[in-house]
Structures are given as structure tokens and as C-alpha cells.
């Protein structure tokens, strides 16, 4: 089985922040959400998901809380912090700029 294309460096952070901006989720739900939203185009290795989440937590962008799931199990729910919201805004802006530039370049080369 070939590995899914690695995400552009730093993009995973942006995706995670965006997903958590919508609602607090636990790790498993985040992985499901990632798959469903991106329609399997972006495959995130489940292995790299948790280190990424922990890194974001240590940066102070998201915070974790142990809560009961609907199945009555304890799970670690992540949610965005105020700092994370700022980070999301700036990373979104960055991404928009970057992708716009790349799109322009890609189109140029076709002409």
C-alpha cells in the first residue's frame, strides 16, 4: 500500500485548527472528520495526527479536556483557544496568499 501524499508542511496544523474551530472534538472524531471533509483526497496518517495535536496543545493554540462521549467513555476533547483563533486567522491568510500565488503560476505555465 502506497503512502498517501504527505501534506504540505504545516498544512496539517491549519486543517486541525479549522476543524476544531467548528466544534470541540476528540482525536478519533477529528480523523473521521478529516477524511470525510476532504473526501479522501487528503489522507492524514493517523500516526501523525496525535503528535500534531499535542504540538498544537503545547503551543497553546488548542486546549484539551477529558469529557464523556455519547457512548459514555472518557475521551480527550480538543478545542480552540483564543490564541489558536488568532493563529488560525493568520494561517488562513497565509494559505490564501500562497495558494493564490501557486494557482497563478500553474496557470501561467499553461499559456
Amino acid at each position: 500500500m502506497s503512502k498517501p501524499t504527505d501534506l504540505v508542511q504545516g498544512t496539517l496544523d491549519l486543517l486541525l485548527l479549522k476543524i476544531l474551530a467548528l466544534e470541540p472534538l476528540h482525536g478519533w472524531a477529528i480523523s473521521l472528520r478529516l477524511k470525510s471533509i476532504s473526501g479522501d483526497v487528503l489522507q492524514v496518517s493517523e500516526g501523525s495526527l496525535y503528535p500534531a495535536l499535542h504540538k498544537l496543545e503545547q503551543e497553546g493554540w488548542i486546549k484539551a479536556e477529558w469529557k464523556q462521549t455519547e457512548n459514555n467513555r472518557r475521551a480527550k476533547f480538543y478545542s480552540l483557544t483564543r490564541l489558536g483563533r488568532k493563529q488560525l486567522e493568520s494561517e488562513t491568510a497565509n494559505w490564501t496568499r500562497l495558494s493564490a500565488a501557486i494557482t497563478r503560476i500553474v496557470h501561467l505555465s499553461e499559456v
Binding site: H26, W28, S45, K76, L83
Partner: protein, 898 residues
């Protein structure tokens, strides 16, 4: 932004550090939660339980690595690594516990001595004044040719205070003086210490009385009007048990009723180093102390008794203050040419005041500190050498670690952690050693009438210094071995642990260590030897007068308000009755006996028949005021002419006795008896020199011969005198008869310091300096033992590393004696170089010590003759034992030797 970040992240780090176990459990639980779902999903897809489980684990791409990544995300691995290193270090140090113990003890001695040294340097030189913004407080001093740190007179102080603009305030204080204190009018006064201060003293220094108030300006305006006193904190505690109602109460000082208006705070024990005033009294109450009936404190501009300090204004520079004061001093000189000729003024910082050239305590302390640092360097060199040897035996271990991918930086860190652990243990022991050394100084009882405060303490500053010293020594002794150890060449390192791979460089650094140790210990040895010799030389030479069978006791009739005539009568009767007592051979009066505890007065004079330098108004000399019984009682021989006689009364022609040194100084070759000196200046009163006394040691046993003048008490009245009584038998038996005599003369008059002269002498001339010298000697010995141990280890190690080489040499035909010569010659060269350097350092040190501390007289050849050969002998022994062993090994064995 930064702040906000920290707000979120700091609690996380703290949690990572202290709740590691819980985080670990949470981490497992979180991943388990994910895996369980994954397995469920797999089963739903139709996999078996086992297959689903395996698939789930696979999807994590290596669970353990992920966990490690997540731990790294916590960003405390520097700490966890450090803790791991520490644990590892403790384990590996425990394995070689003998070596570790030796290293720790070595470092403890070095660090402890240095910390004690720091505590003393701090107490005597560095510790700031106990006032707010102490750096702004400067001293204003009157300077003359003979004295760069002189006091000002009251009038001069007032002028300076009025004319300067650089200060927020200028304060004046007198010297600490004895005061007769009684809590009520009836009680016999007890001797305490008091100090005259200007009314603005506390205000300008920024000291808020802990109780009551400080002085008001109007309390220092009229001489003798406002008898108010501020009590020292310690005195208030001891005498009044810290009773707050003391404010407003009346206390009797030298027979005058004073009102206590306040208590100085605990934070302010005064500005003196060795003593703490019990009373602060306004300058206007000076008559309480007036010592010289001839001079008027408030009017005479040359009655210089006040030390003046100012607090620099914000924005005023030291430079401005200096030029401002210089102008004032010039004006003084112009307005009062007679008494201010050649006299200037200077502003000095606290550091300048504490490192004055004319005081020896701080110099001794600095020498002590330097020697302590030398001991520490020897200790560090020693430890470095040991660790270097140890690192070499660990070459294989290090090579394995490097081969497995450990970074060099990481390994250096690991090895440094080991030395850090050692140094911390050493530092801990060092604090104990420092505490012991400081306690030792506190156990010296100093027989002064006012308590002497020993400023050495183990406070936060000293502890911080100890920690810093430990860190520095950890790096100093760990860096070289760590760097060298990790430079290991992998291939060779793994192949054979025993071979000295990159020989030359390593040998070089080890050789340097040997040289450094020899040099350092030689210097230490020279210094301690020199001090011992100088000291014993001085003590032996101090036998210029008799020290035994002498009783002394101090009197100050001012304490009971005697006027000049009463005082004179009292001393006359006292001496007469004492001389008439059975068992008394003779009795005399002096202001301060030789090697006593007080200060000698100074006399300014112009000698007849001596060509005065053009730019000098007069010369000065130490002097003592004595009566007709002094020379006989003290046993100071009169070599020419006569001593002081009863007939030298106030009305008789004025006379003086000078010492041999004085006579040689001014009238070399001529007969001094019959010559005259003029007091103060060319036009002053003429005094005839009637006798020459033997030159003895006056202040310290180690001093150079100094000029000295004796003048008769009757012609120079002085209230505070010390009675010397020479006894036929045990002087202690005269104490009671003496007390009876004094009681019969005046029951209220306190006697102070009644003890045998021998006690005072033993402390002041023998035990006091002796204690310091003992400590230096101990340091020298410790340094030497450390150096020998280190030297032996290093040389022996070097030889043992060459066992294989020696085997080869012997296999191809070298005789044991050749081998011995080979090994010994290397040792000899190293010791030779070390000795040369050590001699150079020792010689420099000797020059410095001779010129500053005492006069041991030129280069002490004997010291070197003893030190150098013994050093050589020891080193040769250190080289010989292993060399001999090496030369006896069978070649076959040596070749196999690893």
C-alpha cells in the same frame, strides 16, 4: 503577545514537569481510545478481532515512535535528559565511590576555603553600607602628606556642609568612644560605646528609627543644650529587653542625664565594620567626650575629629564632587595658612575607604582569598586530571555511544553532568568547610572593652558565591576531560580500550596539569612558609620589653565628671597608693602600652638641627603620654640620658624621650640628648629631648622599626589612662587590692579592662595574627596534600599508560635502569618547569606580601631552600614508584597489557 502565549503555555510546561506520570497515563488512554474505535471499524468491515487489531496498530506507523514524538512535543526533554544524566551520573559515580569521595572532598576543601575567603573579603571590603542606595554615599576626607584619609574639624565640616552643592546632605560622625552608662543616677556606670553624629545623620543616610524619632536640626545647634540620645538596636535589646517604653526615658551617660528619643532600626548596625555603636549623640553634646582640654572642639579648626560623609545628589557625578571639594580645600588653605598648609581634601568611595593603604586587615584578607582561590585551582586541576584518566578508561563506552549515534554535544553534556553532580556535592561540603572557618574566627575572643563585632558571616551572598564557585569548578574540571573523551577515534576506541590513540595531544594536556599543580602548590607553600617565618621572627623580636608580671587596668575619670585638676589628683593618688601596696614592684601610667589594643596619638614637630625639606611644615610621629613609672614598669630600657621623672611637672621645662629609631632618623651620628624639637611647627613650643629609649614593636610584632616619642603626663594631661602594675608574684593577686584602692578614691569610678598584660599581648600579638597565619598554613598544607595526591596519580597514570611501550623497549634489550631513567626524566622535566613557574609566582607573592603586610626582610632564601627540594623529592617519588613497577614487568606481560 509574548505574555499571552506564556499565559497558555507555562502551566502546560509546569504540568509536564510535575505531573509526568499522569500525562503518560492520559497519553495511553487517548491512543487506546483511538485504537479501540479503529478496531471496531475493522471488525465492522469484516476483519477478525486479531486482524483488526493489527491493522489498527499498523495505521499508527509505529506506536512507540509516535508516543516519543508526543512526549517531545512537551518540550521538556532538556530537563528529562538532565534528570536522566543526573541519575546515570550518580550511578556511575557510586560505582567508583573511592574516586568520587576523593573528588568531592577535594572540591569541598577548595570551594569551602574560597567561600570563606569571599565571606571575609565581603565583610571587609565589598559589603555595601546598610542604608538605602549605598552607592551614593561617599566619604569626604582631609588629606595631608602623611594621611590620605584624615578627618575634618567641626568648623571645617560646617563650611563644607554649607558650600557644597553636589550632595543631598553632608553628615559628620566622631569615632566610637567609651561612654559610662548607668540606667539610673545611683548605679555604677558601665562602659559602653557611643558615637557623636550630626543631627541630619539618620535623615541623610535614609535610616528610619525603628522606634521614636531621629534628631531634629535644632537639637544640634547649641553646645551642651539638648541631651538627647538615639539607642543602637542591639543595645536596646540587651539592656532594655526591647521595651518600647524606653522612648522618653532618662539614661545617664558619663554622669549627664540624656533623654532617649529613639532606637535605630535592626537594619542599621552603624557604618563601622568591627563595632556597633550603643548610643548616637548629637555633635553639640561633644563635651561628653572632650579629650583635649587644650582644644575647643567647636572653635578650633585644627581639632580634626569628624569623619564626614555625603549622599550624592541624583545627577551629581563623583568628578563634580571632587573638583568642588578641591576648591573648598584651596580656600581653607588660603584663609587659614597656618593650620591648613599642604592640606587638601578628597572625595572617596566606599571601596576606596575600605581598601586604604594604611590598613593591613584587608590586605591580609585579600592574600587569604587569593590563596584560597589557588587551593581551589589546585583542587580543580586535580579533579580534572583524575577525570581525564577516568575518561580514558571509558573510551570504549564513549565509542559505543558515539557509534550508536549519540551526538558529541549530548555526550559532553552527559559527562559535564557528572562533574556537576560532583561539584554540587563538593559545594555542599564546601559550605560546611566555610561555616567551620567562619566559626573559627568567631571563637577568637578579643579582649577589648567595647565588644568587637566580627563581620564574617555565612549569609545569602556567601551562599550564592559558593554556588557560583561550584558551577565554575564543575566546568573548570569537567570541560577538558569531556571534550577529550568524546573526541575518541571510533575505530581505535572500539578496537582496544587500552591504547593511547591520539597520544601527543593528550599527553600534552596531562603534562600541563602536572606543571600547573607543581607551580601552584609551590606558590602556596612559599606563601604559608613565608607568613609563618615572618610571624615567628616578629614574635621573637618583640621581646624588647617585659611582658610578664604585669597587671593593667583602664580609667577614665570623665565618666564621673572630673575636671582636669581632679583628674590629675586622682592619678597622683592612685599611683602613690598602688606603689605603697605590698607585692607591687612598680607602677606607671600610659595611654596605650606597646602592642596594646588602643591607638597611639600622633605628635607633629620640627626637629632642631635637621634640614627640613622646603615643602614641609612639620613631621609627625606616633607618641605616648606616660608618667615617671612607665619605663621601669614596662621594662623598656633607657639607653641614653634619663626617662621621665617626677620633677617633669607642668611648670618645669618641657621634655620628651624619643626612641633609638627616632634619634637615628633625625640626628644620625650626633648625641640626641639635649636636642630640641618644636611642637606643631617652626614657631611652636620647644621641647628638650632628655633620653633615648630602646625601639620596641608598638602596633604589631611584624612591623618595621618606627619613630616614637614619649611625653610626660603632667605636661600633656590626658583623662583616659591605663595603669600598669609590676608584681613580685602572680599579678592576679593584685586585682583585689587595686579594686580596694580605687573604691577608696571614688566608689563610682569604673575600672575597665583589668587583666594581665600577658593576656592582651597574647591575643593582640600572638593569637590574633597567629590564628590567621594558622589558617593560611592549613591552606598551604591542604594545597600541598592535594597537589601531591594529584601529582602522584597523574604521573603514575602516565607511566602505566606506557606499560606497553616499556614492554617493547625491554623486549628489544633495554635494561630496567634505562626504563627507570626514561620515565624519571619526563617527570623531572615537568617538575622542573613547574618549579620555575611556581618560584616566579612565589617570588612575586613574596614581594607583594613584604611590601604590604609585614617586614620579613628581603628574599627569604631559607624558605626556598626548604620548599624547592622537598617539592622535587615528592615528585620524584611519585614518578619513581610506578616507574620501578613498570621496569619490573616481564616484557611478555607488558606487551599483552591493556
Amino acid at each position: 503577545m509574548w505574555l499571552e502565549r506564556w499565559w497558555f503555555t507555562v502551566p502546560l510546561r509546569v504540568r509536564s514537569i510535575f505531573r509526568g506520570g499522569q500525562l503518560e497515563r492520559e497519553l495511553d488512554e487517548e491512543l487506546q481510545f483511538h485504537l479501540d474505535h479503529k478496531i471496531e471499524e475493522g471488525i465492522a468491515k469484516g476483519l477478525s478481532m486479531e486482524e483488526a487489531r493489527r491493522a489498527a496498530l499498523r495505521s499508527m506507523d509505529g506506536l512507540e515512535q509516535r508516543k516519543e514524538e508526543m512526549r517531545d512535543a512537551r518540550r521538556i526533554h532538556w530537563l528529562t535528559d538532565f534528570l536522566d544524566d543526573t541519575r546515570y551520573a550518580i550511578r556511575s559515580l557510586r560505582r567508583s565511590s573511592g574516586l568520587s569521595a576523593f573528588v568531592v572532598i577535594t572540591l569541598a576543601l577548595g570551594i569551602g576555603m574560597s567561600a570563606a575567603g569571599f565571606s571575609m573579603v565581603d565583610g571587609l571590603i565589598l559589603r555595601p553600607y546598610p542604608v538605602p542606595h549605598p552607592a551614593d554615599v561617599v566619604s569626604l576626607v582631609s588629606t595631608s602628606r602623611d594621611d590620605a584619609f584624615g578627618d575634618f574639624s567641626y568648623r571645617e565640616y560646617l563650611d563644607i556642609r554649607r558650600q557644597t552643592k553636589s550632595y543631598d546632605g553632608v553628615v559628620a560622625s566622631g569615632a566610637m568612644q567609651t561612654v559610662g552608662f548607668s540606667a539610673n543616677a545611683g548605679a555604677t556606670p558601665r562602659v559602653r560605646g557611643g558615637m557623636l553624629v550630626s543631627a541630619n545623620y539618620f535623615r541623610v543616610l535614609g535610616v528610619e528609627p525603628q522606634l521614636g524619632r531621629g534628631f531634629r536640626d535644632d537639637e544640634d545647634q547649641v553646645a551642651g543644650r539638648d541631651a538627647v540620645v538615639v539607642l543602637g538596636r542591639d543595645f536596646w535589646n540587651h539592656e532594655f529587653g526591647g521595651d518600647p517604653s524606653v522612648v522618653g526615658r532618662t539614661v545617664r551617660l558619663n554622669g549627664i542625664d540624656f533623654t532617649a528619643i529613639g532606637v535605630a532600626p535592626e537594619s542599621f548596625p552603624g557604618l563601622l565594620i568591627f563595632s556597633r555603636p550603643d548610643f548616637y549623640i548629637p555633635l553639640a553634646m561633644e563635651r561628653l567626650f572632650s579629650t583635649s582640654p587644650q582644644k575647643d572642639f567647636f572653635e578650633d579648626r585644627d581639632d580634626r575629629q569628624l569623619s564626614v560623609k555625603g549622599r550624592l545628589k541624583a545627577g551629581a557625578t563623583l568628578q563634580q564632587a571632587r573638583s568642588e571639594l578641591a576648591v573648598i580645600a584651596q580656600n581653607f588653605e588660603r584663609e587659614y595658612p597656618k593650620i591648613n598648609r599642604d592640606r587638601g581634601a578628597a572625595v572617596r568611595t566606599q571601596l576606596e575607604m575600605r581598601t586604604r593603604d594604611d590598613q593591613t586587615e584587608w590586605k591580609f584578607i585579600v592574600v587569604f582569598a587569593v590563596l584560597a582561590i589557588a587551593v581551589l585551582s589546585v583542587a580543580c586541576t586535580n579533579v580534572a586530571g583524575l577525570l581525564l584518566s577516568r575518561a580514558q578508561t571509558r573510551t570504549r563506552e564513549i565509542a559505543v555511544r558515539l557509534a550508536m549515534g549519540a551526538g558529541r554535544f549530548r555526550l559532553v553534556r552527559m559527562l559535564l553532568t557528572e562533574t556537576l553532580v560532583l561539584a554540587c556535592l563538593g559545594g555542599l561540603g564546601g559550605v560546611g568547610v566555610a561555616y567551620g572557618a567562619i566559626r573559627f574566627f568567631h571563637t577568637l575572643s578579643i579582649p577589648t572593652e567595647l565588644p568587637t563585632f566580627i563581620p564574617f558571616q555565612l549569609d545569602a551572598r556567601v551562599l550564592i558565591a559558593s554556588v557560583a564557585l561550584s558551577m565554575v569548578s564543575a566546568v573548570a574540571c569537567g570541560m577538558a576531560p569531556a571534550l577529550q573523551g568524546t573526541r575518541a577515534d571510533l575505530v581505535n576506541g572500539l578496537k582496544a580500550s587500552g591504547v593511547d590513540a591520539s597520544g601527543r595531544k593528550r599527553l600534552w594536556s596531562r603534562n600541563a596539569l602536572v606543571v600547573a599543580q607543581v607551580a601552584m602548590s609551590l606558590m602556596l607553600l612559599t606563601a604559608s612558609f613565608l607568613m609563618m617565618r615572618g610571624f615567628h621572627h616578629g614574635v621573637a623580636a618583640a621581646a624588647g620589653f617585659a611582658k610578664d608580671h604585669l597587671l593593667m587596668s583602664g580609667f577614665d575619670p570623665r565618666l564621673v565628671q572630673y575636671n582636669a585638676a581632679q583628674t590629675q589628683r586622682f592619678y597622683q593618688h592612685l599611683v602613690e597608693r598602688v606603689r605603697a601596696t605590698p607585692g607591687v614592684q612598680s607602677a606607671g601610667l600610659t595611654r596605650n602600652p606597646p602592642l596594646g589594643l588602643g591607638e597611639f596619638g600622633r605628635i607633629a614637630f620640627v626637629p632642631d638641627d635637621f634640614q627640613m625639606p622646603r615643602d614641609r611644615e612639620n613631621f609627625t610621629s606616633s607618641m605616648d603620654t606616660v608618667d615617671d613609672g612607665f619605663f621601669e614598669t614596662m621594662g623598656v630600657p633607657i639607653l641614653r640620658g634619663r626617662g621621665i621623672l617626677r620633677s617633669d611637672t607642668a611648670d618645669a621645662p618641657r621634655v620628651a624621650v624619643v626612641n633609638e629609631q627616632f634619634a637615628k632618623h633625625y640626628w644620625l651620628g650626633a648625641d640626641p640628648v639635649g636636642k630640641h624639637i618644636r611642637l606643631d611647627g617652626r614657631t611652636g613650643a620647644s621641647i628638650e629631648v632628655v633620653g633615648v629609649a630602646r625601639t620596641v614593636t608598638y602596633r604589631q610584632t611584624t612591623e618595621r622599626p618606627t619613630d616614637f616619642v614619649y611625653v610626660p603626663l603632667a605636661q600633656h594631661p590626658n583623662p583616659r589612662m591605663i595603669l600598669l602594675v609590676r608584681s613580685a608574684g602572680d599579678p592576679h593577686q593584685l586585682i583585689d587590692p587595686l579594686k580596694d584602692i580605687v573604691r577608696s578614691l571614688d566608689a563610682n569610678l569604673p575600672m575597665s579592662d583589668t587583666r594581665t598584660y600577658e593576656d592582651v599581648y597574647r591575643y593582640n600579638a600572638v593569637e590574633g595574627p597567629g590564628a590567621g597565619i594558622e589558617i593560611v598554613a592549613v591552606m598551604g598544607a591542604v594545597g600541598l596534600v592535594l597537589a601531591i595526591a594529584g601529582l602522584y596519580g597523574l604521573v603514575a597514570y602516565t607511566v602505566s599508560r606506557r606499560t606497553r611501550e616499556i614492554g617493547i623497549r625491554m623486549a628489544v634489550g633495554a635494561a630496567p635502569s634505562d626504563v627507570l631513567r626514561l620515565v624519571m626524566s619526563t617527570g623531572l622535566v615537568l617538575v622542573g618547569i613547574g618549579t620555575a613557574i611556581g618560584l616566579a609566582m612565589g617570588f612575586t607573592l613574596e614581594q607583594v606580601m613584604n611590601s604590604t603586610l609585614f617586614n620579613a626582610g628581603g628574599v627569604d632564601i631559607a624558605a626556598y631552600l626548604m620548599v624547592v627540594p622537598s617539592m622535587f623529592l615528592i615528585t620524584m617519588l611519585a614518578a619513581y614508584v610506578p616507574a620501578r613497577r613498570a621496569s619490573r614487568i616481564a616484557p611478555t606481560e607488558a606487551l599483552r597489557y591493556e
